[in-house]
């Protein structure tokens, strides 16, 4: 199956032809994949080499000149290494960009800690004005990217090799009601949906699917709430969206189970599936934690 990254590259290349504001900024990662686009649009596909601070600053300069920068790298090198450039060169200057990462929390588990960035969404969440998309399927990448590119705002797309089996027809920014139940609500973020559906089979729970976590669609969460027991399942740092849930339910006594990637460094290699299981994010781990929460 086509990967999210492949769909990102092909969609971006096609949009470079129709939108003269669009410019891609790279720091070597995926430069090969963008080479055909660079040959076609040599001034608008810019590879600065392995210089991630400059990559973000250049995007800011392009945005100040009215262009729409798309900035792409592996998650830790896109978000963590140039974090001050994101804070000052984009947010403080009050300009926008579309940041697109690959690697997610542990796509390349054998790559070790240097290539894992489960804290990326929490870091962006500490800054103002970010829309954060966590697509669960390559089709959704195209939908969300096409929605993001015409704007001038700050958008983050977090791509992963982990996907759901089928795409969902998204309304960007809205949670999708996958099914309704009476004992509480599970909010499954991006690629976690299939595992969540498997884990809660037979449970009388509402399942919401979020391919966009910021802004947080509190309206749909509230409108579909049966019982104020919420289970948040995120493919990044555990509890990243917990404050958004509690903020939505300030007026209501509620219970919240946050499931996500643990804060402690796992210090293991292997596969993404092994890391998922270690963090209790596989179907079995999810089933155990959700059942225990509901029966507590």
């Amino acid at each position: 199956m086509e990967t999210m990254r492949e769909r990102f590259v092909s969609t971006t290349q096609s949009l470079l032809g129709s939108d003269p504001r669009l410019a891609v900024v790279l720091a070597d990662i995926s430069a090969d994949a963008f080479e055909p686009a660079r040959r076609q649009y040599p001034r608008r596909v810019i590879n600065v080499g392995i210089r991630e601070q400059l990559m973000i600053s250049v995007a800011a300069g392009l945005a100040l000149e009215g262009l729409r920068p798309v900035v792409h790298s592996y998650t830790p090198f896109l978000i963590e290494r140039p974090y001050e450039q994101i804070k000052l060169d984009l947010c403080h200057q009050d300009v926008g960009a579309v940041l697109v990462s690959i690697g997610a929390s542990y796509d390349w588990a054998a790559g070790g800690r240097t290539h894992q960035a489960p804290g990326d969404v929490a870091l962006l969440d500490a800054l103002p004005g970010w829309t954060v998309h966590v697509p669960g399927h390559p089709e959704e990448v195209e939908t969300l990217l096409r929605a993001a590119l015409p704007g001038r705002d700050r958008v983050y797309l977090r791509l992963s090799l982990q996907t759901n089996a089928a795409p969902h027809s998204l309304v960007p920014g809205r949670f999708e009601v996958v099914r309704r139940g009476r004992r509480g609500t599970v909010l499954a973020v991006g690629p976690m949906l299939d595992g969540v559906l498997s884990a809660v089979a037979g449970q009388d729970l509402t399942v919401l699917y979020a391919a966009t976590v910021r802004p947080f669609d509190a309206k749909t969460l509230l409108a579909t709430l049966s019982e104020p027991s919420i289970i948040l399942v995120e493919p990044f740092l555990e509890g990243t969206s917990a404050h958004a849930v509690t903020s939505a339910l300030t007026h209501l006594p509620h219970r919240l189970l946050s499931v996500g990637v643990g804060r402690a460094e796992l210090r293991r290699y292997g596969t993404a599936q092994e890391h998922e299981a270690a963090h209790g994010l596989d179907a079995r781990g999810l089933r155990e934690r959700i059942t225990s929460f509901l029966n507590a």
Partner: protein, 231 residues
């Protein structure tokens, strides 16, 4: 908003600086950047308070955002700022903070304060001009020799040189304040990355104006402006 004042002469800059510092007298030479800023806004940059949105204007970036009083004084002298704002320097609801903010201050292209951001952003601005085939405007960036310690500047210098960004001019005020110095001088650092680089007195208006008026030759340009060592 009061009407901006017409252009004031160089001799008035000391008085404008005093409005911010509260000192009775302020010698322009006490501020390392003042002469370079004056020459830029008086003779070099094609920008005025009436053309802030003109895509053909020249862009100026104060990368060295510390101690922006000289910058504010020159902007006020040239009519970008109401003079009365100077006395409100650093107040809660002032336009002028201890580091400049582009969102608040008319004529400020890039907000700065944390060192090593202005030149890299200016590389993006120069690339943006090139993409849009705007070949007339230039992007002038003012840095300090101590600011050159920041690694991010060296990412920018290398790429600007390789890409031949001749819209870009870096002016480095050298008051020998870098903790570990720059053996051989800063001009060599730029030249080795393909920039045109020269060193002039940062107090000599004629020499600065000449250095900043060279025709473009397909390379970015660096002017190292030496001033008295920081005391």
């Amino acid at each position: 908003m009061p009407t901006p004042t017409p252009s004031l002469p160089y001799e008035e800059l000391g008085r404008l600086l005093s409005r911010m510092t509260g000192a009775e007298k302020h010698a322009p030479s006490a501020t390392s950047t003042l002469d370079v800023l004056w020459v830029l806004y008086d003779q070099i940059l094609r920008v005025s308070p009436t053309c802030l949105d003109d895509p053909e204007r020249d862009r100026f970036v104060l990368s060295k955002g510390h101690g922006p009083m000289a910058y504010y004084a020159v902007l006020a002298a040239k009519g970008f700022l109401p003079l009365q704002e100077l006395a409100r320097f650093g107040a809660y609801d002032a336009l002028l903070g201890h580091h400049p903010d582009r969102v608040l201050v008319p004529g400020v292209e890039v907000g700065s304060g944390s060192l090593g951001h202005g030149l890299p952003i200016a590389v993006g601005m120069a690339l943006g001009l090139r993409i849009q085939e705007r070949f007339r405007p230039r992007v002038a960036v003012l840095l300090g020799d101590a600011e050159m310690d920041e690694g991010s500047n060296h990412e920018a210098i290398a790429v600007a040189g390789r890409m031949g960004l001749d819209a870009l001019t870096a002016i480095v005020i050298d008051n020998q304040s870098a903790s570990h110095g720059w053996p051989g001088g800063l001009a060599g650092r730029f030249a080795s990355e393909g920039w045109h680089a020269e060193t002039v007195s940062g107090r000599d208006h004629a020499a600065l104006a000449r250095a900043l008026s060279l025709p473009r030759r397909g390379r970015p340009q660096a002017v190292i402006a030496t001033v008295e060592p920081k005391g």
